[in-house]
Symmetry: C2
């Protein structure tokens, strides 16, 4: 029997979930929910209803797990608790500092409804969190390092676009290779913000705009760029479209730790992602955890869960017996 998935919100992430469902035979796309007029939304899977979000409750018996594809700033804090009252849900809430608050709200809703609600699923938070946890559990004496990139930061790109005279922009976060190598070599460096990542900006300026001023405004922007070594390239709109329209990302989680009676042995655990499409990879993680949420629910679980709570075998469509025989 197939697990019936609902997609709530049809942006990059929602489209990624739609594509990922096709890669998993045990999952079926049951409906796409949108706040737009459903008649105007063209999805890429034939025969699947597009439903207005106001009518989600009417679909309660036709959806097993609802995957929430909204943003963390304003959508998910409202949508996840609301939908957890009706469905098992999975979201990708990624505002790290507000996770405890989001967890509490979603947990209350899911306990009341008896549903399973998985939050903060994706790669960071998500798979990177798992890598950090495993590294810490296995090597209690050690240091954690997380590097991001090379990849597109939507927030930083948006910040550049708000500068006067900027028509469009794309910002890449780039890990500093020398820092990575020092960590891998077991040197346990203490790294300032500037030493971990650089920022590379591709900017389309309006005709006649003062490029020196734009570059200065970018490089001195507090929080976003001031603490980093930033490079600014002015390019044409055509070049931006041609060379920088992808949404790649990735990064590294490294645990450098020691064991032995005198802590005489060093171990390096490294987890690395290199992603052509950040939203599609995130969607693929969401889909695997939707399967897990369904299974946890089938066992009688309820309440808010994170990736840290899920037995890994629940992510796979294969049986425990098959996994032990082929993957263990």
């Amino acid at each position: 029997m197939s697990i019936r998935i609902g997609i709530y919100g049809y942006g990059n992430l929602g489209r990624g979930v739609e594509a990922a469902i096709r890669q998993n035979e045990d999952l079926t796309l049951a409906a796409v929910f949108t706040r737009r007029d459903p008649a105007t939304l063209k999805i890429r899977t034939k025969g699947v209803p597009v439903v207005h979000i106001d009518k989600a409750a009417e679909m309660a018996d036709r959806i097993d797990v609802m995957i929430l594809c909204g943003g963390s700033a304003t959508d998910l804090p409202v949508q996840t608790p609301a939908m957890a009252a009706l469905f098992h849900v999975v979201d990708s809430f990624d505002n790290h500092s507000k996770i405890p608050e989001h967890f509490a709200r979603v947990d209350a809703a899911a306990r009341t409804s008896g549903k399973v609600a998985m939050i903060s699923v994706g790669w960071d938070p998500g798979l990177f969190s798992l890598a950090r946890l495993m590294g810490n559990a296995v090597l209690p004496d050690g240091k954690d390092y997380t590097f991001w990139g090379k990849g597109v930061s939507q927030g930083h790109s948006d910040a550049i676009r708000r500068i006067e005279g900027v028509l469009d922009a794309k910002q890449y976060t780039v890990p500093v290779e020398a820092a990575l190598e020092a960590v891998r070599a077991g040197k346990d460096p203490t790294l300032a913000t500037r030493e971990k990542h650089t920022r590379e900006c591709f900017v389309v300026a309006a005709e006649g705009a003062d490029r020196a001023r734009i570059e200065h405004e970018i490089k001195t922007m507090p929080a976003y760029f001031a603490d980093y070594d930033t490079t600014v390239h002015f390019i044409s709109a055509e070049e931006l479209k041609e060379k920088h329209s992808g949404i790649p990302h990735g990064g590294f989680v490294i645990r450098s730790g020691k064991t032995g009676l005198d802590l005489e042995h060093r171990h390096i655990v490294e987890y690395r992602l290199k992603l052509d499409s950040n939203p599609e990879f995130t969607s693929s993680v969401l889909v695997a955890y939707a399967r897990a949420a369904y299974r946890l629910a089938a066992e009688g679980a309820c309440g808010c869960k994170t990736v840290l709570d899920v037995p890994p075998a629940y992510l796979s469509p294969k049986s425990g017996e098959e996994l032990r025989r082929t993957l263990l």
Copy 2:
């Protein structure tokens, strides 16, 4: 309250567990079990009893989790089911092809006794298995690659030592860098055995032994060396001791997969270990899973489990709330 750990077998792995317990405040070493005369065994933790394995049953109320530190060939197939009748247990059974058989035997014993028995804990099987599972679950369309090394293979070193005229030897398994790079670059290569790893041997020959014959016997040894590009270095016993007495190991698990409606986006997930001491790292993993076994048991679980069945949070001494706040 501290979790009381028993160590069953005091070789490299047992000593590693002893050291690892000191790095975890919530764990206490309760006893070391040996098949030698306990009076002759000197352990490195003061005030901890050394007990003959025949008296293990008498310690049933003083041990929460028994960590089995014997070998996979002959010890664990007997010891793990036997001890699972008395204790929650963790072992590092690493004979991949016999895991289903071992699982069945241990599961029967643990279900009868109501204990939790974690098998095949370590890094391969173990953390590498988790990396393979996660990679497959998130990227169903893709290829798996596991590379081992650079590290010491005990089995291959032993095979060389059995050759006439060889006094001592150490064999390193080395991943082929070009193969790794092709995988990382998303080329999905099909790799023959010879293209994935090379074997490097450091051999101490007896005086007057025929080195050409020894080298030939090594390089043509079926299963062990014949399918690999093998290098043989003859060195002195002193040099072997000085430069090759460590037990380093490690390796790489890579999942190369695609997403998108037309599978147009490539993603590379890489998990890498670089270990100064293979037994100490394995011991550190065993200890973290002993904690998890204890927690699963406290929840009422019983039977045989593997790393694939354990919620990651159970590996950490921290609370769910603290993990969400600091690591997620």
